[in-house]
Symmetry: C2
Subunit: 315 residues, 2 copies
């Protein structure tokens, strides 16, 4: 099969179709989305070697579960051991022995085929196009926030960052409170939210602070410092940003103001898919460009361009 393989350098290779392990399904990939994490992986993040890619929709070609065979699916990317203390504490996505699709110890979705445990798969209704279903994983990451904190309709929310994740977070949280503004740098990205009647601001403008919840989805090392200036005492800053380098941080104010800083990563697939089915989250305007799998190295370079939102590979 054709696959993008990264071993310090990313290039297309013809490699064998993977063998599925017991309890796993073999999935023929239809579409795969490129995420910032993929770009970071190509910069050395997680020291991952293999096939990157973790946002996908595909067809189950082989599985011991007849309810899955031939079905179009999306898949939860964390593959936990199921036996350790964290798995028993119902935190399988934090299992220290886990593999993660295209991120850690498991080949990913920038290929014609991948394998994942049956238990990770969710069947996608026929009404949802591939280019929408492929957004389930990043939408789930946005849906993680209301799973972690209670959001009331009165809460003032500021989302920092108008990248792929920022736009999804803004849309998902807007379902919980309309007192939301997304702050970014790119008028053309802001426009996607404006069409949905979601307020936006340019990061050069003065922003009214004192927000109950501020989400850092900037992907920048300065994001947290900025968020801490905008949150109210006893408010919450949700950290969605992963950056490789360390940030110098003055923690006096968060202690005096008793701010909660909450890390947030992967999220629940079911409510994410539901939001896509109901049209509560609009994703197609976020696709800047599509490429065939054979052009994946070029597509990855394109996805790293600051003006670009989602780049999707079609297999």
């Amino acid at each position: 099969m054709l696959a993008l393989v990264f071993d310090g350098d990313a290039r297309m290779q013809d490699i064998p179709i993977p063998d599925r392990q017991p309890g796993e399904a073999l999935i023929r990939v239809l579409s795969a989305g490129i995420c910032n994490t993929d770009i970071e992986i190509l910069r050395g993040y997680m020291e991952f070697n293999g096939i990157p890619g973790h946002e996908f929709v595909g067809i189950v070609e082989e599985s011991d579960n007849k309810d899955l065979r031939g079905k179009r699916v999306v898949g939860e990317i964390n593959c936990p051991c199921g036996r350790c203390r964290l798995c028993r504490l119902e935190m399988p996505h934090h299992c220290r022995e886990r593999s993660v699709l295209g991120i850690h110890n498991r080949n990913g979705a920038f290929a014609e085929y991948l394998t994942l445990p049956d238990a990770n798969l969710l069947v996608v209704p026929g009404s949802i196009p591939d280019d929408v279903a492929v957004f389930t994983e990043p939408t789930a990451a946005a849906c993680r926030i209301p799973e972690q904190i209670t959001i009331s309709p009165e809460d003032r929310i500021i989302v920092l960052g108008d990248g792929k994740l920022g736009l999804l977070v803004a849309q998902v949280l807007w379902l919980h409170s309309k007192h939301l503004v997304c702050v970014g740098k790119h008028p053309e990205k802001a426009e996607i939210l404006q069409k949905l009647r979601i307020a936006t601001a340019h990061c050069g403008e003065p922003i009214e602070g004192g927000a109950d919840i501020v989400v850092d989805a900037t992907g920048s090392r300065d994001g947290l410092g900025c968020a801490l200036q905008l949150v109210r005492p006893e408010g919450t800053v949700v950290l969605k940003t992963i950056v490789a380098d360390t940030a110098a941080l003055d923690l006096t104010v968060p202690v005096i103001d008793e701010v909660t800083i909450l890390g947030s990563r992967c999220g629940p697939f079911r409510p994410a898919l539901e939001a896509l089915i109901l049209g509560n989250v609009e994703v197609r305007p976020m696709i800047t460009e599509t490429f065939p799998l054979s052009e994946a190295p070029h597509a990855l370079k394109r996805a790293a361009d600051p003006d670009v939102l989602k780049v999707v590979l079609h297999m």
Copy 2:
């Protein structure tokens, strides 16, 4: 009256007894404790000029409230405006217009007299000696933690730091879970906890990580980084440390592990005084030395010594 006045330099002065404002009481100070914040103030923290000191017990000499006159009291140090959004949201201790006894815009307790609003005062039962009552404020700071987070008897807790606050935090949280260890540098401080059957460890020893809750009461810029290494995924780090300088911090792990970092400051006086009344918190072994008010400048120097725990002034 005699008072320690700080204006870049700390020295004893003879100044007029303060006038109480409407709704305030005039209090004759009996004892005052020296806190790390006082030491930081003398280093320029909060740019405070005036009389420092915020841990005290005293006698109400004047008040419009007859239930307070002549009574021995302790006092909540935050004096909010009562009118702003944060006061209306029941977060008066975060009021932006507040004065804070001996810390911000209000003369403090290293003097023969001080004034505080009647509403801030709590009468101390006769059974409690001055040298115990003077610990109400720092004990309240420790009691703030169970007010902010739910602690179950099964939770594994690590308290980092065996200073004044660390020892109080360890004692207060130990009431909530016995799976607690306090990590410090000083065997003689650890002994105070050991006598109460609270586990201790030396910070050179390897500490078992994966704790549900880690409290940083180190007062050191490295405390948070250390706490983040010891907390489990989806666990909580409580930040009690205020340091003037910024810390370089790798936030990748707290995001991936979805850790909550929670700032924690002043706390509730009533449960603190109750813990002292019931003997649930043992404070007298923490008094290293007492000085008369006239020797306050020397007492402050002594309190900054790493081997010293609480220094108390007697008026």
